[in-house]
Amino acid sequence: MHLPDGFVSVPVALSTGILSGGVLWVSLQKTSSTYGSRHAVVLGLTTAFIFAAQMINFPIFGGTSGHLLGGGLAGALLGNPWSAILCITTVLIIQALLFADGGITALGANILTMGIGSVSMAWILSRTLLAVFGGNKKYLPIASGIGAAISVLGTSLACAIILALSGISEASIIIPSMAGIHLFIGVGEGIITGSILAYLLKVRPDLLPGEENTFRGILFPVIIIFLLAGIVSLFASALPDGLESVAQNLGFKNLRENSSNVVQTPFSRYEINGLGQIGKSMAGLLGALVCFGIAFVIARIVKDKNA
């Protein structure tokens, strides 16, 4: 998934470089308070460990193989996303400079997708799942495994979008091909990440981060989810989705309008009548809130039964 030199256009290289530099600066500030120079050796060796773990390939199918990306694993082992971002960034710099794997001008894009993107996605997903499971450490392997698996798919999509934005390949070609192969690699990543953490939980549980306060643990993911639902939904495409497009082409799109059995819902077409753009944002927020509430109640019921 490493983008090589010459495959990222100047505007994309500059913008991803600036963005990655900014996040990296914040990561360095955050890790200096938790790690500092005293633990530089520990962080350095954990980075070397992630690098080494990436060398272990697992077969997928048809003679191809995948290897760990390590974003989810680094986050779970180090216990905070900032150190994990620093860790994966270091791996990417080493790979680019000493192994010519990934370009120098594409370093910003690679750090943004495989470092920042992969770690953040895996972290947010795993923490949310862990919080839903009640913050119990024994669920860390499954939560981190699922987070790591989905983060690989997300990272591959981000990588494909960067290639499309750079004009190297058409989005319609690169996105399905990248997503297709990384779906399987993601499953492998999830299983390996989960299994490593399960092993460590069994052998040396003291090495893994401690129990989390449920509400503190879910605060950050919840804020992100609501920001996405409330703000990003405003920029959603107005074009028809896959099914609508097929319906339009096959001429059965108007069936719904002509039907007499349509039940009116409060937020039909993700809008609140009379509120315009604010209504769209509010519908997104309320939808996310309802989903979160249902999931939370189910998780509490399941937890109480298992307790």
């Binding site: 360095l28 005293r38 954990t46 080494a52």
Partner: protein, 218 residues
């Protein structure tokens, strides 16, 4: 060229890589200039061409698959531009001994904590590689590396125990370094000599002219 410091050689290769990578798409004249420079670069660093081509051949396959749908001319340019970048960097890497990787890291213009992390990671990579080889061998001797399903607990437990070994080693090294007076900072680094700085600035000027020129003159 060979008597120049490692730092200058690193900066020159990075400069040439960046210059080549940023050449405007389908400006063949600028790319041709960089191809000529890359040939000189390989000769000056006395790189074994056979070894260089062996590494490049792996990349050609991957890059080719990615760009071929773009049409032959555009794909040819993208592939060639990417390969020239690789020639600059791989030639530099092949011309230096592995134990100087630490010095390369120290020469990079990066924030001190990141440089420290990079330095320790590179320093211990070789040691971890030996650990992995040992673990792989012992797994094979126990018949654990067969052709069974890839969902193997063996892989995970191997990586897990590697992490435990890594942390134990890190703790020992950390204590030993502090006992020897390590304060978390590197000693001051050697700066470039006047002659080297002149060369670096001259190459920077030439690279800027060629790359920026590719956007203004077709």
């Amino acid at each position: 060229m060979l008597e120049f410091s490692l730092k200058l050689r690193l900066y020159l290769s990075l400069l040439l890589v960046v210059g080549t990578a940023l050449v405007k798409i389908e400006n063949w004249i600028s790319l041709f200039i960089y191809i000529i420079v890359s040939i000189f670069w390989v000769v000056l660093l006395r790189v074994k061409v056979e070894k260089l081509f062996k590494i490049l051949s792996l990349q050609i396959l991957f890059l080719g698959i990615l760009v071929l749908p773009q049409g032959y001319e555009r794909a040819g340019f993208l592939l060639l531009r990417s390969l020239v970048c690789l020639v600059f960097l791989i030639s530099f890497l092949l011309s230096i001994p592995a134990h100087t990787f630490g010095s390369i890291i120290r020469s990079l213009p990066l924030p001190a904590p990141l440089k420290l992390n990079l330095y320790f990671s590179v320093h211990f990579l070789e040691k971890l590689k030996i650990e992995i080889e040992k673990m792989n061998l012992s797994a094979q001797l126990r018949g654990l590396n067969g052709t069974t399903s890839w969902i193997r607990y063996t892989n995970a437990s191997m990586i897990g125990s590697l992490y435990i070994r890594t942390l134990e080693k890190a703790e020992r090294v950390n204590k030993a370094m502090y006992l020897r007076g390590f304060s978390g900072e590197f000693p001051p680094e050697k700066i470039l000599q006047t002659k080297e700085r002149i060369i670096l600035n001259a190459i920077l000027f030439l690279v800027s002219v060629i790359t920026l020129g590719s956007y203004f003159f077709d």
